[in-house]
C-alpha cells in the first residue's frame, strides 16, 4: 500500500486549531514526492486539525488532533514507512453513519477551488445539462418538483420564488447568494464556501439561466476573509474553464458573478436590507411587497437565495427531483446542514435527512453531552429561533414541526445546552444581541426589545419583580406582531420559548433570587467548606478583592459583603473546598 496523497483540513476552523503548521510540516518533509493537499472542512471540527492519508488502493486513514510533531511522525512512519499510527486515528464514533451528504458531498474531500477536482466528482455536469438540454422552464419545474425549500430560515419554496422572477418582463435581473450568515453559533455557509465554492457558483449560474439573469452577486459577511478569498479564486478558475463568462459552453447564455463584502450588520441578512447594503446605503429593511423577486436590486427582479439552498441545486439537476425528494418528510424534502456547537461531544458540521428527531441529532450524530451532564435543551434558529426543551426532543427536524415548538428551523445553528446553562441568561444573551443589531427603523423593535432587555437584565441581577414575567410575555407578543421585518418579528422567540418551557427557572430568579443552573453571578454565593479546606491560602492569594481571610480554625472564610463572585477561589482550590450555590 503506497501512500499517494495527504490531505490537511484547511478551513477556518482547522487553521484556528493549528492546521497550517501541520500542512507546512508535511510539505517540508515530503516535498514533491507525495501530493500534500489542502481541503475544506470534513465537519469533524471536534477533532481538528484533521489529516487524511490516502493510499493507492483508495484506503483512507483519518488522523485527529494532529500537531506539527505528530505530523512529522505520520510523514516518517506512515507515509514513508507504510505503518499507520493506530493510536492517533480518529475512531469511528458513528459521526458519519446517520448523515446523508448532498450539500457537503465534496467538503473536505477536494481541493476547494480546483475546477478539475470538482468536475471529477460530477461538478458542472448539472450546469451543462441545464443549459444544453433543458429550457429555463424545465429547470424551474425540476426544482419545484424536488420540493426544495429555502435554507436561509423561512423555508420558502425555491422553485416558486424562481418562477415569480422568471415571469417578470424586465430584461435585467439578478441572482444574489446570501452568505451573510449572521446567526452567532452557525458556520454552515462558511464551510461550504470555503470547502466547495464551485458548487455554489454552479447553483447560482443555473438559477440565473432559469430566471433569465445575466449577473450574480455573492454577499459575504465581513468576518469570513477566507471564504471571500476562496470564492474569488473559484470565480476566476470557473471563468478560465468556461463555466462563467460569455456564451457558456457554446450556448447563447452568459453569466457573471462578483463578490460583495458585508460590513458587519446582522440585519443585512434580511433580504431588503441586504439590497440596501449592496446599493451602498445603511442596511435598513423596507416593507414588502413588492418582494425582491419583483423589484429588488436597483428596482430589478432579484432572486435572493441562501448558500445552502443554491448548493442543493446542482445535485438536484444531476440526480433528478425524485432522488432528492426521497429524503425527508412530506413537506420538508432533502437534507439540512447543522452547525452543532455548545455542550455536545461532536461539535462540528453535520448534514442529516429532514425528519430525523432532535434527540437522534444530538445523541446519535452529536455523540451526546460531555462530562456526564444532563441534556437540557437545544437552541435552534439563532436569535430568531427558540429553545426546545429535552422533553420535546422527539420533535422531528422539519419546518412545520420545529415551528410548532415556538422555535424556527432557521439557517442551521444548533446550540446544545446542559444543566449548567441558565435559560434566563440565554434569553438575555439573545435579546442583548438583537437589541444591539436592531436597525432602529421601527418602534416596536427598537424600543420594545430594549424594554424587554431591561427586564431580563433586572431578573438575572436578582432584582426581578413579581409581574415581570407577564410584562415580558406581553411585550414579546407586541414586538412579534408589530415589527416591520423578520428581525423584530422573531426577536422575542428566545424569550417566549424559555418562558413557556422553563417558567420555573424564571420564578426561581424572581421570587427566590436563585439561579438553579449556578450561572447568574449576582445570585451566587461562594463559601468555603471548613471540613474540606486544608488552609493552604491559595484562594486568599487569588482573591482580587481580598475578601478571603483566616477563619477561627485551620480554614479560610469568605467575607460575603466584600465578595464580587468572580469564582477565582473556586478555580484555584486544589481540594474542591469552595462551594457555590
Amino acid at each position: 500500500m503506497k501512500v499517494t496523497e495527504v490531505q490537511v483540513g484547511l478551513a477556518s476552523c482547522g487553521i484556528a486549531a493549528g492546521a497550517e503548521a501541520v500542512f507546512n510540516q508535511f510539505r517540508k518533509i515530503l516535498g514533491s514526492k507525495v501530493v500534500v493537499k489542502p481541503v475544506g472542512c470534513l465537519g469533524m471540527c471536534y477533532n481538528e486539525p484533521l489529516v487524511a492519508v490516502i493510499t493507492d488502493s483508495g484506503e483512507r486513514f483519518l488522523y485527529k488532533r494532529v500537531d506539527a510533531a505528530l505530523a512529522k511522525r505520520i510523514a516518517e512512519e506512515h507515509v514513508k514507512g507504510g505503518t499507520p499510527l493506530e493510536d492517533f486515528l480518529a475512531p469511528d464514533d458513528g459521526f458519519f453513519k446517520r448523515q446523508v451528504r448532498i450539500v457537503l458531498e465534496n467538503c473536505g474531500q477536494i481541493a476547494p477551488t480546483s475546477v478539475e477536482e470538482y468536475r471529477e466528482r460530477g461538478g458542472y455536469e448539472a450546469l451543462r445539462r441545464a443549459i444544453q438540454e433543458m429550457t429555463p422552464q424545465e429547470v424551474i419545474v425540476e426544482i419545484q418538483q424536488s420540493g426544495l425549500r429555502g435554507r436561509g430560515g423561512a423555508g420558502f419554496p425555491t422553485g416558486m420564488k424562481w418562477s415569480f422572477a422568471a415571469q417578470e418582463p424586465d430584461p435585467v435581473k439578478f441572482i444574489v447568494c446570501n452568505a451573510d450568515e449572521g446567526d452567532p453559533g452557525a458556520f454552515m455557509d462558511r464551510s461550504v464556501l470555503e470547502g466547495d465554492p464551485h458548487r455554489v457558483l454552479e447553483g447560482m449560474t443555473i438559477a440565473g439561466y432559469a430566471i433569465g439573469a445575466r449577473f450574480g452577486i455573492v454577499y459575504v459577511r465581513a468576518e469570513y476573509p477566507l471564504a471571500v478569498r476562496r470564492v474569488k479564486e473559484a470565480i476566476a478558475a470557473a471563468r478560465k474553464a468556461g463555466f462563467l463568462g460569455k456564451r457558456i459552453l457554446g450556448t447563447p447564455f452568459s453569466f457573471e458573478i462578483m463578490v460583495k463584502e458585508g460590513a458587519g450588520a446582522f440585519v443585512c441578512g434580511e433580504e431588503t436590507a441586504l439590497i440596501a447594503s449592496i446599493e451602498g446605503r445603511r442596511g435598513m429593511p423596507r416593507r414588502r411587497p413588492p418582494y425582491p423577486a419583483q423589484s429588488g436590486l436597483w428596482g430589478h427582479p432579484t432572486v435572493i437565495n441562501n448558500v445552502e439552498t443554491l448548493a442543493n441545486v446542482p445535485w438536484i439537476i444531476r440526480n433528478g427531483a425524485e432522488a432528492f425528494a426521497r429524503y425527508g418528510t412530506e413537506k420538508s424534502k432533502g437534507t439540512k446542514v447543522f452547525a452543532l456547537a455548545g455542550k455536545v461531544r461532536h461539535s462540528g458540521l453535520v448534514e442529516i435527512p429532514m425528519g430525523m428527531t432532535l434527540e437522534e441529532l444530538v445523541f446519535d450524530v452529536g455523540g451526546g453531552i460531555p462530562d456526564d451532564k444532563e441534556f437540557k435543551a437545544v437552541q435552534i434558529g439563532g436569535p430568531s429561533g427558540g429553545c426546545v426543551p429535552a422533553s420535546l426532543a422527539h420533535t422531528p427536524v422539519d419546518y412545520e414541526s420545529i415551528t410548532q415548538t415556538g422555535a424556527i428551523m432557521g439557517s442551521g445553528g444548533l446550540i446544545v445546552m446542559d444543566e449548567a446553562t441558565c435559560m434566563v441568561e440565554v434569553a438575555r444573551f439573545f435579546l442583548d444581541f438583537i437589541q444591539k443589531e436592531s436597525c432602529g427603523k421601527c418602534t416596536f423593535c427598537r424600543i420594545g426589545t430594549k424594554r424587554m432587555l431591561e427586564i431580563l437584565t433586572r431578573i438575572v441581577k436578582g432584582e426581578g419583580k413579581p409581574g415581570d414575567l407577564d410584562k415580558l410575555i406581553d411585550l414579546g407578543y407586541k414586538v412579534k406582531t408589530n415589527s416591520l421585518c423578520g428581525l423584530g418579528q422573531t426577536a422575542p422567540n428566545p424569550v417566549l420559548t424559555t418562558t413557556r418551557y422553563f417558567q420555573d427557572e424564571y420564578e426561581a430568579h424572581i421570587r427566590e433570587k436563585r439561579c438553579p443552573a449556578g450561572v447568574c453571578r449576582a445570585l451566587l454565593r461562594y463559601s468555603i467548606d471548613p471540613e474540606a479546606c486544608r488552609n493552604c491560602k491559595l484562594c486568599a492569594k487569588a482573591c482580587p478583592v481580598g475578601a478571603i481571610s483566616q477563619g477561627d480554625g485551620p480554614f479560610q472564610v469568605i467575607q460575603q459583603e466584600a465578595c464580587i463572585r468572580c469564582g477565582r477561589c473556586r478555580e484555584v482550590c486544589p481540594f474542591g473546598a469552595v462551594r457555590v450555590e
Partner: protein, 163 residues
C-alpha cells in the same frame, strides 16, 4: 496609534489612487470605506468627506453608513486588533470569563486601545469557528479552545514582537 493618523495625513495627496479603484457611484461607498480602513486601520474623518465628494453622495449619508456598520472604526486603533467572539457557542462555553481576563490583562474596556498603542480590544459576534469555542482573532490569526492561560501566552507572543 498616532502613527496611523500621521500616515493617513501624509498620504492624503495620493488618496485619489484609492478612490479611483471604484467607480464614482453611491454603490462604491461601502467598498471605499473598507479600502480606507484596510489601509489605515480606521477611517480618517477627511476620508469620509473624500468618499462623499467622489461618489457624489451627501456627506450625511456616507457618515450614516460609516456609523451603521459594526466593522467601521472612526478612531485609530492599536497595532494589533483583538476580536473576541461573544457568539452563542462561545458564550455558552465561557467567553465571558475570557473577556474579563482580557480586560484585566490589558487594562482596557471593549472598544478601547491600550496606552502603549499595542492592542485594541473589540468584541464580535461569531467568527464561524464555533466548534473551537471560545475563540478570538488577533489581526488575521484565529485562536480557539481558549483558556485564560492560553490568552496570556498569545498576548506574550505579540508583546515580544510577533506580527
Amino acid at each position: 496609534m498616532a502613527k496611523r493618523a500621521l500616515k493617513a495625513k501624509k498620504e492624503k495627496p495620493q488618496w485619489k489612487q484609492i478612490l479611483q479603484k471604484h467607480p464614482p457611484v453611491p454603490e462604491s461607498v461601502i467598498p471605499l470605506l473598507q479600502a480606507f480602513q484596510e489601509r489605515y486601520g480606521y477611517i480618517p474623518p477627511e476620508a469620509v468627506r473624500a468618499v462623499a465628494r467622489y461618489t457624489r453622495t451627501p456627506l450625511s449619508q456616507v457618515y450614516g453608513v460609516a456609523t451603521f456598520y459594526a466593522q467601521f472604526r472612526l478612531r485609530p486603533r492599536g497595532k494589533h486588533l483583538i476580536r473576541l467572539c461573544q457568539g452563542t457557542a462561545c458564550h455558552v462555553l465561557g467567553a465571558d470569563a475570557i473577556l474579563n481576563h482580557l480586560k484585566e490583562r490589558l487594562g482596557v474596556e471593549e472598544g478601547e486601545t491600550t496606552p502603549d498603542g499595542l492592542f485594541t480590544l473589540e468584541v464580535v459576534r461569531c467568527l464561524g469557528c464555533c466548534s473551537l469555542a471560545p475563540v478570538m482573532m488577533v489581526d488575521e490569526e484565529t485562536y480557539g479552545r481558549l483558556t485564560p492561560r492560553a490568552v496570556d501566552k498569545v498576548l506574550a507572543e505579540y508583546r515580544k514582537g510577533k506580527t
